[in-house]
Symmetry: none
Subunit: 200 residues, 4 copies
Amino acid sequence: MAVAGKTKKDVLQEFRTTEILEAARHVFALRGYHAATIDQIAAHAGVAKGTVYLYFDSKRDLFLASLRQGVLALHAEVAAQLRAAPTPQAQLQAFINARFDYFTRNRDFFKIYYTEFPQLATVQPELQDLYEQQAKLLESVLADGIRSGHLRPCPVPSTARLVYDLIRSALAQHILNEPADNPHPEATVFQFIWKGISPS
Amino acid sequence: MAVAGKTKKDVLQEFRTTEILEAARHVFALRGYHAATIDQIAAHAGVAKGTVYLYFDSKRDLFLASLRQGVLALHAEVAAQLRAAPTPQAQLQAFINARFDYFTRNRDFFKIYYTEFPQLATVQPELQDLYEQQAKLLESVLADGIRSGHLRPCPVPSTARLVYDLIRSALAQHILNEPADNPHPEATVFQFIWKGISPS
Amino acid sequence: MAVAGKTKKDVLQEFRTTEILEAARHVFALRGYHAATIDQIAAHAGVAKGTVYLYFDSKRDLFLASLRQGVLALHAEVAAQLRAAPTPQAQLQAFINARFDYFTRNRDFFKIYYTEFPQLATVQPELQDLYEQQAKLLESVLADGIRSGHLRPCPVPSTARLVYDLIRSALAQHILNEPADNPHPEATVFQFIWKGISPS
Amino acid sequence: MAVAGKTKKDVLQEFRTTEILEAARHVFALRGYHAATIDQIAAHAGVAKGTVYLYFDSKRDLFLASLRQGVLALHAEVAAQLRAAPTPQAQLQAFINARFDYFTRNRDFFKIYYTEFPQLATVQPELQDLYEQQAKLLESVLADGIRSGHLRPCPVPSTARLVYDLIRSALAQHILNEPADNPHPEATVFQFIWKGISPS
DNA sequence: TATGAATGAGTATTCATTCAT
DNA sequence: CATGAATGAATACTCATTCAT
């Protein structure tokens, strides 16, 4: 009993939180941050407006929470895949595949991530950090690869950022454009990047 | 006489239009689309609020116009540079350099273009078109290069988009991040892309 | 047994009631009627929000109850002192002293009484009554004094009200203004009033 | 033309300001500060809600402005009457009469002044000042009278405050209680005070 | 044409009150 | 009895848009 924690209350709390976060993600993805209303989010979560404010301090707080949670989950999945990959080449593939996997399962989140992030990142330093932590994963891959000779020497931070944004762009084409001309662009992206960073 | 009379009026019209568009771009870049107010834009343009509505139908219209105008000017410059380049390699360099040139001279515009575009492009099909027209220029370069054997065969549209977004990302790092670690990233970007598309 | 059982319950009831009333008085005095929240009062009373509603029907009811209880206690003390005073002069002194005593011991209550009463009295006739019952005590003193020749004839109700408000004002200076220039203003007030009502 | 100033615009501005202030005073007096809504005030002033915000920054600002304006007008009238009075006795009478006059003509204002002032004065130091400036007028009268021997020596500030509040109380009885038992209480009040401060 | 005063629809947020546990 | 999570009515304030001058 004690093992599961204060089941009754805490489970409900967590359930509500998740419920609201998901609704928020959906509505934010659909309408955009500004056009989305708390009313819509509450309705979508099946709760009253006031309830949203029991779990989040403000609309902005709710938005940031939904981004943060999504980014952290993504980060965890990607990091796990990375650890399982032996070579830099495999790591890059893992990085790409993990992201395609995650965002394919979380399209709403990708929409927010792609469309609202740049806008808000300019005013919310915390978001900048979340963004950069992701690029840091890539920086490690690059740095290790260069050190071990698997990759050609290059300026690590800016290259990491380039690679990162390249994947982001490919994802945008894949996720946001309904008519998926290329059902599995992961390979194409990998090839493109690999040409850019592998040793001649 | 009628010609001259019409011209005088038209010149003023055009002057006002440009003035307001510039003010809009500045304020939109500074505050973001939603936080920007018509009042601020009018004040910045040195006209009254109502005057803005003589030249543009709505806030959104003004925003789209400012984007459109910027994109068209960019497009013109890039296209001109492209025409002057003999080889695909030179064309790619021209494409990159022209964009770095233009956006370095129009930072406000880049900020809007980068941060607001994705958000609005999802609801404004017209913006999608503007975006794609730019990638089309690259598609021509790629297609011609492949045909002439200067470039390795690849899926043209998605590669064009990848290359396009890659340049966009490099620009973001260059324009938006104050501490320009790399004062001239054009070469790096070109190298990275060239590795990805040149024949082995 | 039934008696004791009932008592035990009743004692708890009364204890809770008093506890909540005191908390209410404190928070109302601190924040003012509108800014005070049931949550704050409940927290201060050490009970849950819902519990407050087991003892009082509404926020307004709680407020009125806290005023009523304070006024009744005050009334009782004043009346007791009055009964012990032999002459009109002594009675007036007793009236003044009893009020200064009571409010010095119940500053929170005075604050509400002084700042919130006028506002609410205009819409709550019941409060008007509480107010007037206090003036009635003074009316008796005046009427008796005039009848016995200890006081100069005057219009009793309006004079009573004047005297009453005068004391109230002196109390406000004494209780609300931190820097008590005059540590014992009872005498001054008495003198001022006495000049106004004693026979020439 | 220039003499009257920018007639057209300024006159309208002033007209609107007055209009809204009067409406505010009316609604604040009727409902109390918190219960009054900007909508009600706007409706009463015959303008749209937004218009109120063209002239006043916030509800609180509007409230303070209405108080300030009323107090200043009152102050001016009272001061004028005081200057015309030769003796301390006449000055006290002038002070009382001017206030009764003013508030009889501005009942809404008195209601706010009486019921909302104490509540808000505790949090708005500026209101404290307005309040005290009025008592200062009385202090001059008392100080001069004592110096010239027309009044009995007494602690000036606290006595001034007592006299001031006494008049306020009499006004409350006169203005707020519909059934005016005493149609002209000025004389009674004066007598009462005079007994308290005239030389024995 | 140009102006800017006026409009009023739209929304985040608070908090008294209820009620299932 | 006690709790406190859930509710949703109520409201100040903003700002794109209009239109009389």
